[in-house]
Amino acid sequence: MLFLLLLVISLYMTIQSHAFHKSQFVNSANVVSGTIYEETNNLKEYLHLKSENEMLAKENARLKQTLYNSEIIIDSAFKVNPQLRIATDYNVFQTKIIRNNYNKKENYLTIKGGAKNGFTKDMGVINSRGVIGIVENVSNHYATVQSILNSKTRIDAKVSNSNHFGTIVWDGKNAGFVQLIDIPKLAKLHKGDSIVTGGESTIFPENIPIGVVDKVYASKTSNFYTISVRLFNDMTNIGSIYLIENVNLQEIKQLEEATLNDE
């Protein structure tokens, strides 16, 4: 009897975790697993310091180039041009991954920092190379991130410099590639075209890089392409990350709910 009861409980939790928009009852965003992963990561971190450093320096150079060439900044001390009104639609937080995962069908990452740092569910997670995932569970000091390498993940995306929107999904096969679906066959595509986040997403700002077109599959039975996208990120080796908070998310959600209720 005890066996059946416990088996049913665990099977129920298994099915819940495979269902869309359902998070796990037990997850790694808690003090015990968070602390253990953080300590282990403190040791492992040293192995990747050099490449991590190089990546951040490159990002710095790129950002400086943008700043020096932008109209927003007026002098080398990064003084902001008072003539321009800059909207703060997004807040950016910096943190790091303490436990990476990429060899399952549903991958989750554990990150340092939680509710106490202002992290909330559904924040976008990126690094300098591109999209990494979406925040799923948050505790006081730790959070879990649903990786882009998770068969449950759906991210709005488009072909750069065009307005053909689609959805990024993952088929669970190769950690270097994701799939872009729902791009109409009218779209002109070339190998090497950039795929970036679309403007319809409430999680990510527009034009955050994801990957490049690797192969295009045209099905005879549908009017849409399935595109194999090679990720810019090497998801097996990621450390420093940024969390993006959409400041207007609450307002957008309220509006959407009000519209639904009106119908």
């Binding site: 066996f3 298994t14 808690n30």
Partner: protein, 168 residues
């Protein structure tokens, strides 16, 4: 508090820690991970309460599920292994295993290897079927089960061997 209880609590905690800190990080060929933590279930005293084993196995699996964000996959596999352990023991050591009350790890025999092998395969098959949960990947489930089982078996034998030499 008797010594068997203390030994089992120690095994529970140390095997979980080893799994989380060490074995979960092993990623052979990009998809083969060993799970030697189930040694706790396999070595649980033969003469003790079965419900106790089932309950302990459930929490063992559930805690690892928490670490791996995998729902209740490990819990389901561990509870099933705990429930069928007696049958696997009977199959490998013969019907008289209970009367002998032998320590199952006394020597690395064919019987012990059969017992470990069947149990590991059983656990891993349930685990990977539930984790991947997609008939489209049947071949991958079987491949992962077989390769991971082999790796788990190797690590379990090493662990048994290490604890034996430590005692001497």
């Amino acid at each position: 508090m008797n010594s068997t209880l203390i030994i089992n609590i120690f095994r529970f905690v140390s095997l979980l820690l080893l799994q989380v800190v060490l074995f979960d990080n092993i990623d052979l060929f990009g998809f083969v991970t060993p799970y030697p933590y189930i040694l706790f279930i396999l070595l649980y005293p033969l003469n003790s309460n079965r419900s106790g084993l089932i309950l302990a196995s459930f929490f063992l699996g559930l805690i690892l599920d928490g670490f791996n964000n995998s729902g209740g996959v490990q819990a389901a596999a561990c509870v099933s292994l705990a429930y069928f352990r007696e049958s696997f023991l009977k199959f490998s050591f013969g019907i008289s295993y209970e009367y002998h009350m032998m320590k199952i790890t006394d020597k690395i025999s064919t019987e012990l290897l059969t017992y470990l092998g069947i149990s590991i395969l059983f656990h891993h098959l349930i685990f990977y079927s539930l984790e991947i949960f997609n008939l489209q990947f049947t071949l991958e489930i079987l491949l992962r089960t077989v390769l991971s089982s082999a790796l788990t078996l190797i690590f379990i034998i090493i662990l048994i061997f290490l604890t034996k030499t430590a005692k001497k």
